[in-house]
C-alpha cells in the first residue's frame, strides 16, 4: 500500500508512455517529466509568493494579503493578471535583443536545475553521473542572465546592480561548492541519486542524514548561507534592494518580463533548497524509520516547504548586508570555514569506526575554528555601543 502510493507517479508515467510507439518512448517519457516539473514548481512559486507575504506580515505584526480568496490565497492569480496586463516598457536606448533574452535565459537556466533533483524514489528526470556538477554549471548561467539584464537596460544603476549581483554570486559560489564537495567526498559520487541512497539507512529510528554529523551540520549552515546569497535574497539582496537601488538590475523591466525575473529567482531558490535537501537532509527519506510509509515525494516537498519557511523567517529577521560586509563575510569567514569543513569531513571518514571519538574530534574541529575565527574577525570591527553627540 505504501509502495503503491510511493510509486504512483512512476507507474502513471510508465502507463502513459506505453501508449506511444517504441521509437518515441524516451522522448515522451522525458517530456512527461518536464511537464510535471513545470507545473509543480510553477505552482509552488505561486503559493510561495503568497505564503511569503503572509508570513512576513505576521512576523511584522500585521496581516498579509487577505482580500483575494480565502485568507488571501488566490492573490497569485491577481498578481499574475496584473503582470500580464501591464504595459511592457522598454527604454529607448536599451538593447532590445538582449533585453528580451535576459529573462528567458534566467528562467531557462532555473528550470533546467530541476533535472537532477530526485523528487522521490525513482523520480529523477536525468540520472546524470555528474549531477551535482551539472547543477553548479547551470546555476552559473544564471549569473550571465543577470549581467545581460543589467547591461541591456543602458542604465547606470542597473549596470551597477548587475555587477554587484555577479560579484556576490561568484563570491558565494565558492563556499557553496566547497560545502557540497565535502558531501561528494563522503558519498563517493557526484550523482544525486547515489548521494540520497547513501543517506537512506537508519540506526534505530534515527536517519543517517549528513546534517546529523558535525561536518554535515556545519556544511549545511554554510550551504544555506551561501544559497541565500546565490538567490539574492535578504539579507544578501543589496543588488536588488528596493530601498537602495530601486530594483537593481531589473529596474527597467515591467509587466511579464518582471514576472519572469521573479519566477526565475524563486525557482533558483527552490532548486538550491532542493539541492541542499538532497545533499544534507536525506533527499526523499523519512526523518524517522517508523514514518517510511509516507510517500517519498511528500517528504521531499515537506522538507522543501520547511526550507522555504526558514528562508522567509531569515528574510523577516535580518537587516540587509552592505556590499563590503557581504564580500568580507564570503572571503574571510565562509571560505576558511568551508575548507576546514572539508578537512573535518575527511577526518570523519578517516575514523571509519562508529564511536564517540570521531564525534568528539570532528565536533572540536568544527566549533573551535568557528569561535576563534569569528572572534578575531569581530575584533577588527571595533563594535561599540553608539554614542550620539546631539540626539541624547
Amino acid at each position: 500500500m505504501g509502495e503503491a502510493a510511493d510509486q504512483f507517479f512512476v507507474r502513471l508515467q510508465h502507463w502513459l508512455v506505453g501508449h506511444v510507439p517504441v521509437s518515441l518512448q524516451p522522448i515522451v517519457s522525458s517530456l512527461l517529466g518536464v511537464v510535471a516539473i513545470l507545473t509543480v514548481f510553477a505552482g509552488l512559486f505561486a503559493v510561495t509568493t503568497v505564503l511569503e507575504r503572509k508570513g512576513l506580515g505576521r512576523i511584522q505584526n500585521r496581516y498579509g494579503p487577505n482580500r483575494v480568496g480565502p485568507f488571501g490565497f488566490l492573490q497569485p492569480i491577481a498578481d499574475g493578471i496584473k503582470s500580464l496586463t501591464k504595459e511592457d516598457v522598454v527604454p529607448h536606448a536599451a538593447d532590445r535583443a538582449v533585453h528580451f533574452l535576459a529573462p528567458l535565459v534566467l528562467v531557462l537556466a532555473a528550470f533546467s536545475l530541476y533535472a537532477v533533483l530526485p523528487i522521490g524514489r525513482n523520480m529523477v528526470l536525468a540520472n546524470l553521473d555528474a549531477g551535482v556538477l551539472f547543477f553548479f554549471a547551470v546555476s552559473s548561467v544564471m549569473e550571465l542572465a543577470i549581467f545581460m539584464a543589467g547591461w541591456s537596460s543602458r542604465n547606470k544603476y542597473s549596470l551597477l546592480g548587475a555587477m554587484r549581483a555577479i560579484a556576490q554570486m561568484v563570491s558565494y559560489e565558492v563556499p557553496l561548492i566547497l560545502a557540497s564537495v565535502a558531501v561528494v567526498m563522503v558519498s563517493g559520487s557526484l550523482s544525486t541519486v547515489a548521494i540520497v541512497e547513501r543517506q537512506a539507512g537508519y540506526t534505530g529510528i534515527l536517519p543517517h542524514w549528513f546534517v546529523f554529523t558535525p561536518w554535515g551540520f556545519a556544511g549545511f549552515v554554510i550551504f544555506v548561507v551561501a544559497a541565500t546569497a546565490e538567490s539574492n535574497r535578504s539579507p544578501f539582496d543589496l543588488p536588488e534592494g528596493e530601498s537602495e537601488i530601486i530594483a537593481g538590475y531589473y529596474t527597467e523591466y515591467s509587466g511579464f518580463k518582471f514576472a519572469l525575473f521573479f519566477l526565475g529567482e524563486y525557482l533558483g531558490l527552490f532548486a538550491i533548497s532542493g539541492l541542499g535537501i538532497t545533499l544534507f537532509l536525506g533527499g526523499w527519506g523519512a526523518p524517522l524509520s517508523v514514518l517510511s510509509w509516507v510517500p517519498s515525494y511528500l517528504w521531499f516537498f515537506a522538507k522543501l516547504l520547511a526550507m522555504i519557511a526558514m528562508f522567509i523567517w531569515i528574510r523577516g529577521t535580518l537587516p540587509r548586508l552592505r556590499m563590503d560586509q557581504l564580500m568580507n563575510f564570503a572571503w574571510k569567514f565562509m571560505l576558511p570555514m568551508a575548507l576546514l569543513n572539508l578537512i573535518t569531513a575527511g577526518v570523519w571518514c578517516f575514523f571509519s569506526q562508529q564511536g564517540v571519538l570521531r564525534w568528539l574530534v570532528c565536533g572540536v574541529l568544527v566549533v573551535v575554528p568557528y569561535v576563534l575565527l569569528s572572534r578575531s574577525l569581530m575584533q577588527g570591527l571595533k563594535l561599540k555601543k553608539r554614542v550620539y553627540r546631539f540626539a541624547e
Binding site: G55, R58, I59, Q60, N61, R62, Y63, N66, W313, G316, T317, L318, Y370, V371, S374, R375, M378
Partner: protein
C-alpha cells in the same frame, strides 16, 4: 560569540509570528472597510449646508450673504441669490440661495467659509468616502447634495453643534425679546433698535412682528 545576536533575532520574530495567531492585540491592523476607526471630533473634509427641521430647502439657514463666496481662497463656492425671501433660522425673512454650488475638487478644506459665516449655516463634514468616476460633474455639488440636517451635525461634531445651537437660540431669544417690546414701545425705540441690527432694513421690523407668531410655531416644531 558570532551568531548570538542572530539567534536572539530569530527568537524574537518567531515570537511575533506565533504570537500574532494567539494574541489578537498584537495585530493593530484595522480591516477597512469592515472596520473603521472613529474620526477625531475636529476632523473635517468638505463643507455642507445645515438645515433645521424636515424640509431641507425651507429650513436652510443660509441667507445667501455671499461672504463665504468672497472669502473662499480657491473660489470654489458659487452662489446665486433668490428673488423672494423666506424666514431664516432666527425667524427673519431673508434671501436664500437659489443656486449654491461647491466644487469639491477645488475645495481645500481650509474651513474659512465656516469661520466667516454669521448664520451658522455652513459647517465642515467628516465624510471622506466620496470617490466617483465622474471627474467633473460628480465633484460639483449643488444645494440639495450639500444640505444635511442639524441632527447629523450634532452627531458628527457634538461640541460644535452645541455651541452653534446655543448661538442660534440666543439670537432667536434676542429677536423675540426685541419683537415683544416693539409691539408696545414707541416707534422711535423700534427704529433705534432696528437700526442697531446688522441685518436687513428697518421696514422688516414690522414684518417680523406680524410673522413672529407663525415662525415661533414653526421653530418649536423644528
Amino acid at each position: 560569540m558570532l551568531g548570538e545576536g542572530i539567534a536572539k533575532g530569530f527568537v524574537e520574530t518567531a515570537r511575533n509570528f506565533f504570537g500574532s495567531y494567539f494574541y489578537k492585540d498584537r495585530l493593530t491592523t484595522v480591516q477597512y472597510p469592515e472596520e473603521r476607526l472613529p474620526q477625531a471630533e475636529a476632523a473635517r473634509n468638505f463643507p455642507f449646508l445645515v438645515y433645521d427641521g424636515e424640509d431641507s430647502q425651507a429650513g436652510m439657514r443660509c441667507v445667501a450673504c455671499q461672504i463665504c463666496e468672497k472669502e473662499c481662497p480657491p473660489k470654489c463656492i458659487f452662489i446665486e441669490k433668490s428673488k423672494d425671501k423666506k424666514p431664516d433660522a432666527v425667524g427673519k425673512p431673508q434671501f436664500y440661495p437659489a443656486v449654491f454650488n461647491i466644487d469639491i475638487s477645488v475645495c481645500m478644506s481650509c474651513q474659512i467659509c465656516v469661520e466667516v459665516c454669521p448664520f451658522e449655516a455652513i459647517k465642515m463634514d467628516t465624510d471622506f468616502e466620496l470617490s466617483t468616476d465622474d471627474r467633473f460633474c460628480g465633484l460639483l455639488w449643488d444645494k440639495t447634495r450639500l444640505s444635511k440636517p442639524n441632527d447629523y451635525y450634532r452627531r458628527i461634531h457634538p461640541t460644535d453643534a452645541a455651541v452653534s445651537d446655543g448661538i442660534l437660540a440666543e439670537e432667536k431669544a434676542k429677536a423675540e425679546a426685541r419683537a415683544k417690546p416693539a409691539v408696545t414701545a414707541p416707534p422711535a425705540v423700534a427704529t433705534a433698535v432696528a437700526a442697531t441690527k446688522a441685518n436687513s432694513a428697518s421696514s422688516n421690523g414690522t414684518h417680523a412682528v406680524a410673522a413672529t407668531p407663525d415662525l415661533k410655531a414653526e421653530q418649536t416644531n423644528g
